[in-house]
Symmetry: C2
DNA sequence: TACTTTCCCTAACGGCGTTAGCAAAGTTAC
DNA sequence: GTAACTTTGCTAACGCCGTTAGGGAAAGTA
């Protein structure tokens, strides 16, 4: 009865060849080349075959989205491992986030740039929970054990993410590339990253303390 | 010789009716309804007429982009007017940025979400220089007159923008709408905004002072 | 009135996502 | 082995899209 197994395997093979080929297309020719017809052409099947594996184009994108968030969560988890202090963990995660974004532009553009994710989309990406977990735990670890949290960790989590995402997207979209108009600012984006991380950590450390306005 | 004047005027009228109608379409039906054909339909002209006013679809988008950045720059300039202290100016601009984004979602999505702006695009939007100017001047004003700047103002300008943009885009894309999973966090985005602004201002104030790691 | 210019339309091209319908191949039952 | 059925993957179409060629009517000019 290995026949149905083989069929299963073959079907699976086609499915992954769709995903692989599609990703190849995106990486080598950009998102504008991501079309069902081009994928079909590349895998040497006709168009409807793709629809027997994926409900529609968005379903393929969702798959990449999942993978992207999973990779990001893993990268952050790996980055914070073995750091001596929660503040170092946060710094490491910030840098890892940045590196992930620029090492995987296509993923990042999909995850945050293209199809503005809807509520339903979010619920379909379990790795986003991991992301929250990995980041929030370091933030919570910033306050000495036993003491009550002087801030809302979810708030800080969002701040952290917002800052990083803003930084990345400004720099990725060449809005930050006005560097041309400002000679001598070549390594600037990385300085901004450190600056922003520093501000963030300071903000956590001084939370709950009296503000001098 | 008023004939050529009238023609000029009529042509101008068609041009703005294209822009008005297109914007109407976008606001009432979303970006997916922004198509040359739908615009032509709505203004009751045939498609090629549009091409006699705009080189292509992107040219129309560019027009909206220009307008968007102009509006944003104006909003920020208005917000900072009459504030007693540069720090208040910065806070006011941060809130104005937020308000602009959510009061003009379609503009904001165009400016930062859709057609990831290229270098050429940026150079075609003069208002981006104003934006830089409006923000940077307040940042520079943070340090007492006469003293040397303990930071790169362009760096801080980018940090400011990045933080705000990240905040806005996370919240606009309903990635931040995980609030559903976290009851009791209803007004949270605005708290994050204040938190982030506070961090930023602190970061400027303490620049140049010794860091305690 | 005859000529020229301007305006604007129809119709097409090639691309896209998606789907209906059919033919060939493989599988199963007798 | 053959007949019936299921699976598989194709062609061809539909209705969108941006963009452009070419022609015909209207307006302006002499």
């Amino acid at each position: 009865m290995g026949i149905v197994d083989r069929k299963q395997r073959q079907k699976e093979e086609v499915r992954s060849s769709i995903l692989d080929t599609a990703w190849d297309l995106v990486v080598t020719e950009g998102w504008q080349s991501f079309s069902i017809r081009k994928i079909a052409d590349a895998i040497e099947y006709s168009v409807p075959v793709i629809y027997s594996h994926f409900e529609n184009k968005d379903a393929i994108l969702l798959e990449f989205n999942r993978k992207g968030f999973q990779l990001l969560a893993e990268a952050l988890a790996a980055a914070k491992a073995g750091k001596p202090h929660p503040a170092d963990e946060i710094r490491a995660m910030g840098r890892a986030y940045w590196n992930f974004a620029f090492a995987n532009k296509e993923y990042y553009q999909l995850m945050f740039g293209l199809g503005i994710p809807t509520c339903e989309t979010v619920s379909k990406i379990p790795a986003m929970k991991d992301l929250n977990e990995v980041i929030s735990s370091s933030i919570i670890a910033m306050v000495p054990e036993g003491k009550p949290l002087p801030f809302d960790p979810f708030l800080k989590y969002q701040s952290f993410w917002s800052m990083l995402h803003g930084l990345v997207s400004i720099n990725m979209s060449s809005l930050g590339r006005s560097t041309n108009d400002h000679p001598g600012h070549e390594g600037l984006p990385l300085q901004v990253l450190e600056d922003v991380l520093c501000s963030f950590i300071r903000g956590i450390q001084s939370a709950g303390q009296p503000t001098e306005h």
